[in-house]
């Protein structure tokens, strides 16, 4: 086992002999830190945030072990505390154990076997609590998202349905065929928006719950698919789509995640165009550079206001009052990047000049 993975212990005792014999017994199995006083121990704790077990002598001149642990617990709640003591202090020890300050106590002089087993148990407890803490944080995040989701889902899914129902009731009383046709177009758009939203939801689910499937990524193949997807938009809205691929080596990664990232970045680039210019364009550059896939998507569209840039990756955030935004796209990009260890390297944008996204994805 290498040094970095050893369990890190801190032992506090005012008797130097004890410190030395402790270190002699355990330095091979553990990463042992020693302190001759509670004050010194506090300094060590401040420098090492990965100590998993603290062992302390009970009888020390400045402070008893129990008092020291009460203090430590306030500041560093995570390390598991073991008290080492003679029989005489038993009353204070029992009360300390009962108040939850101490995981185990051991008699002095200790047997190495007992001490080692206590340390192992304590470490297990430490690891479990740390995991529990992490799971709790994840859960908290999931709850917050669920709240946001429930709120948005009612709006974004029910909204188009309600609108179409509204239109239907108006259309029923409309005699003019041309007017009814206009309403049909509107209904179509509303349904497409809803479908779009559900598609994003599906992506969201894929990123979250779908496993990773590592394959050799064929960038040219992906670009061909992208041309198929965006061809209609490109022609209807008169936006030039330029794609460049530089792939001289193999690249392994999760294709679904990469597609979600590209789809969302490109669909934003196509969506947020300036209506009044003739040379509308979206550029895609894909290149494998030193084991990394570099994706650059740029456009000369409406751009993102400076004060919105910090929020664009948040769920349901929409920077533009554009009708088709779901507030899901870039959130999914961020999520998918997290899954394959990629990162957003650059987001540059100027209002009415355009936006550049640069994304780096490492090889798996």
């Amino acid at each position: 086992m290498n040094q970095a993975k050893k369990i890190k212990l801190l032992y506090i005792d005012d008797e130097v002999n004890n410190l030395n014999s402790f270190k002699a017994s355990f330095r091979f199995d553990y990463n042992v830190l020693l302190a001759a006083s509670p004050a010194e121990a506090m300094q060590i704790l401040a420098q090492h945030d990965d100590i998993s077990v603290i062992l302390s002598d009970q009888r020390m001149p400045d402070q008893t072990g129990v008092e020291f642990f009460e203090e430590v617990r306030q500041i560093y709640p995570n390390p598991v505390r073991i008290l080492i003591t003679g029989f005489t202090d038993i009353e204070s020890v029992i009360s300390a154990v009962n108040r939850g300050h101490i995981f185990r106590y051991l008699k002095k002089p200790w047997s190495d076997v007992d001490l080692q087993s206590a340390i192992e148990e304590a470490n297990k407890f430490y690891v479990t609590s740390a995991m529990l803490h992490q799971k709790n944080e994840e859960l908290q995040k999931a709850y917050t998202e669920l709240d946001k989701f429930a709120y948005s889902a009612t709006h974004d899914m029910r909204g188009p349905i309600m609108s179409v129902l509204g239109i239907i009731s108006i259309a029923k009383d409309t005699k003019d065929k041309a007017e009814v046709d206009e309403m049909l177009d509107m209904m179509e758009k509303a349904m497409m928006k809803l479908d779009n939203y559900i598609q994003s939801l599906h992506d969201y689910y894929n990123i979250r719950r779908g496993g990773m499937q590592l394959t050799n990524i064929d960038l040219n193949g992906i670009v061909k698919d992208l041309h198929d997807i965006f061809d209609v938009t490109s022609r209807v809205d008169n936006v030039k789509f330029n794609a460049v691929v530089v792939q001289n080596e193999r690249f392994r990664s999760d294709e679904t995640s990469i597609k979600i990232i590209l789809n969302n970045l490109l669909s934003n680039a196509f969506k947020y165009q300036r209506k009044d210019i003739d040379n509308k364009e979206v550029n895609l550059h894909l290149e494998i550079k030193q084991d990394n896939l570099e994706i650059v998507v740029s456009d000369n569209g409406i751009g993102i206001p400076n004060d919105s840039l910090g929020h664009i990756f948040n769920m349901f955030y929409r920077a533009a009052s554009h009708e088709f935004g779901s507030g899901f796209g870039l959130y999914n990009v961020k999520d998918a990047l997290g899954k394959i260890n990629g990162k957003i390297e650059v987001v540059e944008s100027k209002v009415n000049e355009g936006t550049v996204f640069k994304v780096i994805i490492p090889r798996k």
Partner: protein, 136 residues
């Protein structure tokens, strides 16, 4: 029967919902004018620059990007009283969210919360409420 003509403003980021509101209002036969805005900021500008002389009923959607319905109302409430006076504001949403409904009550300038989409029935109710309050 009261057939006093009223002015209407509709603020909704969805073009479709603006269209629906516009039709429904037209069908009442009570509109002197109907202005629809997809961006609340534009509606605010309109309100600031065109002093309303007679009653204007405003329908504003709650969930909109950039500036939402609540932010619109907050901005509206900072305007001078003589500008605000002719306006009656209704807030609309398609999601039935208790927090939103209670929040709507906190704004003195908002008359009521309505469910989307605006229907002929809701319009009739809105107009009856106005008739009742202007008669008394």
């Amino acid at each position: 029967m009261n057939d006093e003509k009223l002015h209407f403003i509709v603020i909704d980021d969805s073009k479709l919902d603006c269209f629906i509101a516009d039709k429904i209002i037209q069908n009442t036969g009570r509109s002197a004018s109907i202005h629809t805005f997809q961006q609340p900021a534009d509606a605010l500008l309109h309100i600031k620059n065109n002093a309303a002389i007679s009653t204007t009923i405003v329908f504003v959607d709650i969930q909109m990007p950039v500036m939402n319905g609540f932010e619109f109302v907050e901005a509206f409430e900072t305007l001078p009283e003589d500008i605000r006076k002719p306006y009656i504001i209704y807030m609309l949403s398609s999601s039935i969210n208790e927090n939103d409904i209670t929040r709507v009550r906190r704004y003195p300038s908002v008359k009521q919360f309505l469910n989307k989409p605006l229907s002929g029935k809701t319009m009739t109710m809105v107009l009856e409420d106005y008739n009742a309050s202007s008669a008394s």
